[in-house]
Amino acid sequence: MLAYVVRRALYAIPILVGVNLITFFLFFVVNTPDDMARMHLGMKRVTPDAIEKWKAERGYDRPLLYNAQADGSDRLTATIFFDKSVRLFGFDFGSSDAGRNIGADIKQRMWPSLAIALPQFLVGLLVYVSFAMLLAFFRGSYLDVSGVVLCVVLMSISGLFYIIAGQYVFSKLLHLFPVSGYEPGWLAWRFILLPVVIGVIAGLGSSGRVYRTFFLEEIGKDYVRTARAKGVPETRLLFRHVLKNAMVPILTGVVVVIPTLFMGSLIMESFFGIPGLGSYTIEAIQNQDFAIVRAMVFLGSVLYILGLLLTDISYTLVDPRIRLS
């Protein structure tokens, strides 16, 4: 397995270079260093001299990809791309264009994001699997039909609606939870509960329906029929056999998101005033802060690759037939 992990890590390097290059192109197609300087220096009374100085201080006065005026390797290294990208591979995110330490910001903001995302992920998984198993258990009954209809209804509603409606009902009408806000430490539970409940309900439709399909597919297989013929009770059949075998497709979608949980959720965090990482990248794009954009895209890519690797490893845990080679 170690050889497999090392090989996958090496595969990741060209992927990360590619992602970095695409981010770089996309960013500088839309923004020029002059635009970035103007955005950072403000809109009123900015002089061309100040713009030039701002660019020079941050290395944005260099050519983007190729420095024709330099000699030797400097033609590639004395460029914005090289200067801004190489350190990322050592996970040194450096400073934002506004001068703040990106690593410190990420460390500070990831915990509130995790405080919402982790319980939502765990509770959600438990609820979705239980709900789907319930529907599969009562397949063909009024409960199954009602459940599927409910899933379709829940899927058809915009995620934003759950948030606004949830805040309206639980906070404004029933006065049970704060509308928005956050407290660090144990007091955070008061602020986390409502977004977690809303997040779980918002995901119930799609996940519940998909998992139900996985379970129904397993239930129709020969080994289940054999087990049932041998007199295995239905509940034991579901939890011991069907659940375990349906875990492979479930894990495909679940494990991959685990490393990215701390990246947060933009809309949820915005509406609930959670000081997480969800809006960090969007704010950076709006403020034309390339340093943060490249750092967050890079980090997102690394975590996604890690998630895929973990997914592969998790297959071997739930299905002994699978071997990583």
Binding site: T47, A104, Q108, L143, P178, V179, W186, F272, Q288
Partner: protein, 737 residues
């Protein structure tokens, strides 16, 4: 023994944790504190003001901060020598840390003193000697902390010293010292600092004697220092004298201004000219500080009524009363009606009246509005989303609160902002620009067709007044009533200004050579281009409305919608044709509006703020005269003529002056809006007991719907459970049989 102990400890810790959580939930449930309160219970009766912000302030360094969302904080922390009187109107400057309002004396080119009424052309320099009050002290700050020997504790920090430091609050010791004139001089020098890029450096280098050369000196010094040191370290500006700004003694300093520039006094009321102690810059410049995000831009140091104690703009920014504040008192006089409105009830009381101000980040309007209605914010603006819930407009256009808000005791303050939103014509454009009669008539026709009354009604919920010229109400030179209307666009009637009919616009258009929107020379329909940014649903409706206004004249308007970068680029190159822009006044002087159309401020030629690139020789001559004049009938006459030139030439369609609506609860006092002062927080007062009573009355938890919901779920499951049990039993029976 050891493993056993561990085995015992682990479950105890876990159970303690669970018990703690349950206890916390139980306590929250049993307490009288509303469940939906976003604040800790112990804050309930405290003298705390709660407010919100929607965007992180970019800069809190007084040399860099310029945006309105930044002065909300810097205005309370930093103290420039002057301020605006809180209550009096029109806006009046008064001393803040200065002993008195500085009166300049004038010098000629040879340095000889001139009479106070000398013509502006003879004045080579204006000299301001500013004296500050003694005994003012800075807020407690680590930069001032000293040991018993008088040495600064935190000015020579090593990497090891910073190991456990993550925020400014991690420094155990703080100190303070008296404010001195040298601190003001130090800050003015910082405007030229090569690494700060102060937005007003360009402007001030035109006026403050020697500032331009000083910037070059500092740049050279900074380069030399960087070549010696790998890291950017402290550039001690005390070592570099600035010819135009000098310390006279401990409490007096001198600023030498080129020519006559009466508006300089207004700048002395802005944080750009607040004091900055060298110790602060020395402290923050140490290696390792910026890596921990401990910078002056993040943790300001001032003498003002408040100090920023928590700066987490991703969640909360907290300002607390500065214990060293110098005992300023609430004003004893205001304008007519202030006493009756209760605005002088606190006359003579020491400021600030509130102990702590907590600003919470609220990116969305809906949660902010809901929290205001629940009493968790003390005041609020009115967004478009909540306008109908808050405001009702009568048939006569009178504005009042909805019954629901009145019942809650909420009150409304309105004020016309000292700003303008306008539609500009690029005067370099061959079709709409230039000083030809044809282009002028075309612009005038468009000015009539653009029905800003309708725009204000549809897109601003009536929050604005149509502009008759570039000057906003409240600014000297602005004329009310019939004398103030733009006669090229409006007629005067008994009900006020009435926009001229579209037929008049069509007549002007025909006279310009575009009858029915067709060019008589080519026979082709007239197509114009509107350059703008933004592509959201709201923008689409607004752009469609603008297109319809032009369609009234049979002019085809092409919308060129681009991102803000491209739009800026077009404006800088002068390739835009018609555009929409706005201006928010820096200070209450007509110069700050009329300079937007001064020829030497043209955007294309001079990279200035004259986005229309308008140039008129007479206007420019009058502007140069007007800007140095004292307010009075003569200046009014000059302004009248300048405004008349602009109305005639129509380089702008004078759009509208937005109206600010502020809602506040009945426990919030001294809520008078002062659009110029940025340090108004110290005058506000709240009644925390009344607030807590109302919060509790408004936010009683309603739990029974949860019980009903749970019951419904059980009832829904019950038949299925029964069916399952029956099914299981049937199978057993079948096997038995």
């Amino acid at each position: 023994m050891e493993p056993q102990q561990l085995l015992i400890r682990a479950p105890v810790t876990r159970s303690a944790w669970i018990a703690g959580m349950l206890a916390a939930i139980a306590l929250a449930a049993c307490s009288e504190h509303p469940w939906n309160s976003p604040y800790p219970a112990q804050q309930a009766d405290q003298n705390i003001l709660y407010s919100s912000f929607s965007e992180r302030p970019k800069h809190l360094d007084p040399a860099q901060s310029y945006s309105s969302n930044e002065v909300v904080f810097t205005g309370q922390i930093y103290e420039p020598p002057l301020q605006y009187h809180f209550l009096k109107r029109p806006y009046q400057l008064e001393p803040l840390t200065a002993a008195r309002l500085p009166a300049p004396y004038y010098l000629d080119q040879a340095g000889r003193r001139l009479a106070a009424d000398s013509p502006a052309a003879d004045i080579a320099f204006s000299v301001y000697d500013i004296e500050i009050k003694p005994g003012i002290r800075y807020q407690p700050h680590a930069a001032f902390a000293r040991n018993a020997q008088g040495r600064y504790l935190y000015h020579e920090l090593s990497g090891a010293d910073l190991d456990r430091i993550n925020t400014l609050a991690d420094f155990a010791e703080t100190g303070s010292r008296e404010l001195v004139a040298a601190d003001y001089v130090y800050q003015i020098k910082r405007l030229a600092h090569p690494r700060l890029h102060s937005p007003i450096f360009g402007l001030m280098s035109e006026y403050i004697d020697g500032l331009q050369e000083y910037a070059e000196t500092l740049e050279q010094a900074d380069r030399q220092q960087q070549s010696r040191q790998a890291q950017q370290l402290f550039l001690d500006l005390r070592d570099y004298p600035l010819s135009g700004v000098q310390v006279l003694d401990r409490y007096r300093y001198r600023v030498k201004i080129r020519g006559k520039y009466p508006q300089f006094l207004y700048w002395l009321a802005m944080p750009f000219f607040a004091p900055l102690p060298w110790e602060a810059e020395r402290f923050y410049s140490q290696p390792g500080m910026s890596e921990r995000n401990i910078t002056l831009d993040w943790y300001p140091v001032g003498t003002g009524p408040y100090m920023l104690t928590v700066n987490n703009p991703n969640r909360q920014m907290i300002m607390q009363r500065n214990p060293n504040f110098h005992g300023e008192r609430y004003p004893r006089e205001g304008e007519a009606g202030d006493r009756e409105a209760g605005l002088l009830a606190d006359a003579g009381r020491p400021l600030p009246l509130i102990d702590t101000v907590i600003y919470s980040l609220e990116k969305e309007n809906i949660p902010t509005w809901n929290k205001f209605l629940q009493g968790y914010y003390d005041a609020s603006g009115v967004s478009s989303d909540s306008f109908d819930q808050a405001i009702q407009i009568g048939s006569g256009g009178d504005i009042s609160l909805t019954p629901e808000l009145r019942e809650k005791g909420i009150q409304l303050n309105t004020a016309v902002a000292t700003s303008i939103s306008y539609m500009g014509f690029n005067m370099l454009d061959p079709v709409v620009g230039g000083d030809s009669e044809r282009a002028r008539l075309l612009r005038q026709a468009i000015a009539i067709a653009m029905d800003y009354e309708e725009l204000i009604s549809i897109f601003a919920n009536g929050r604005g007044i149509p502009a008759q010229g570039p000057l906003a109400p409240g600014i000297f030179g602005y004329r009310e009533g019939q004398a103030g209307i733009n006669p090229y666009v409006y007629n005067w009637s008994g009900r006020g200004p009435q926009r001229k009919p579209v037929e008049e616009a069509r007549r002007l258009l025909a006279k310009a050579g575009y009858p029915d929107g067709r060019d008589v020379e080519t026979g082709k329909p007239l197509a114009l281009y509107f350059d703008t940014t933004g592509g959201g649903p709201d923008d689409a409706a607004r752009l469609n409305w603008i297109r319809k206004q032009f369609a009234k004249l049979d002019i085809q308007l092409q919308i060129r919608n681009t991102d803000y970068n491209r739009f800026q680029d077009k404006m800088l190159k002068g390739t835009a044709q018609i555009f929409q822009w706005g201006w928010n006044a820096d200070y209450p002087d007509p110069e700050n509006f009329l300079f937007l159309l001064y020829g030497n401020n043209g955007k294309v030629e001079h990279n200035g703020e004259n986005a229309a690139n308008y140039r008129n020789a007479e206007f420019d001559r009058l502007f140069e005269r007007m800007k140095n004049m004292e307010n009075g009938p003569e200046r009014q006459q000059v302004i009248d003529r300048m405004v008349e030139i602009l109305r005639h030439d129509a380089p702008w369609v004078f759009g509208f002056h937005p109206k600010q609506f502020v809602l506040y609860h009945d426990w919030y006092h001294n809520a008078k809006t002062n659009l110029m002062a940025n340090n108004g927080l110290k005058y506000r007062r709240i009644d925390p007991q009344l607030r807590e009573q109302k919060r509790q009355a408004w936010n009683q938890p309603v739990v029974w719907p949860l019980g009903v919901l749970g019951l419904l779920l059980v009832l829904a499951m019950l038949p299925a459970v029964i069916a399952y049990r029956r099914h299981e039993n049937q199978r057993v029976q079948a096997v038995q049989s």
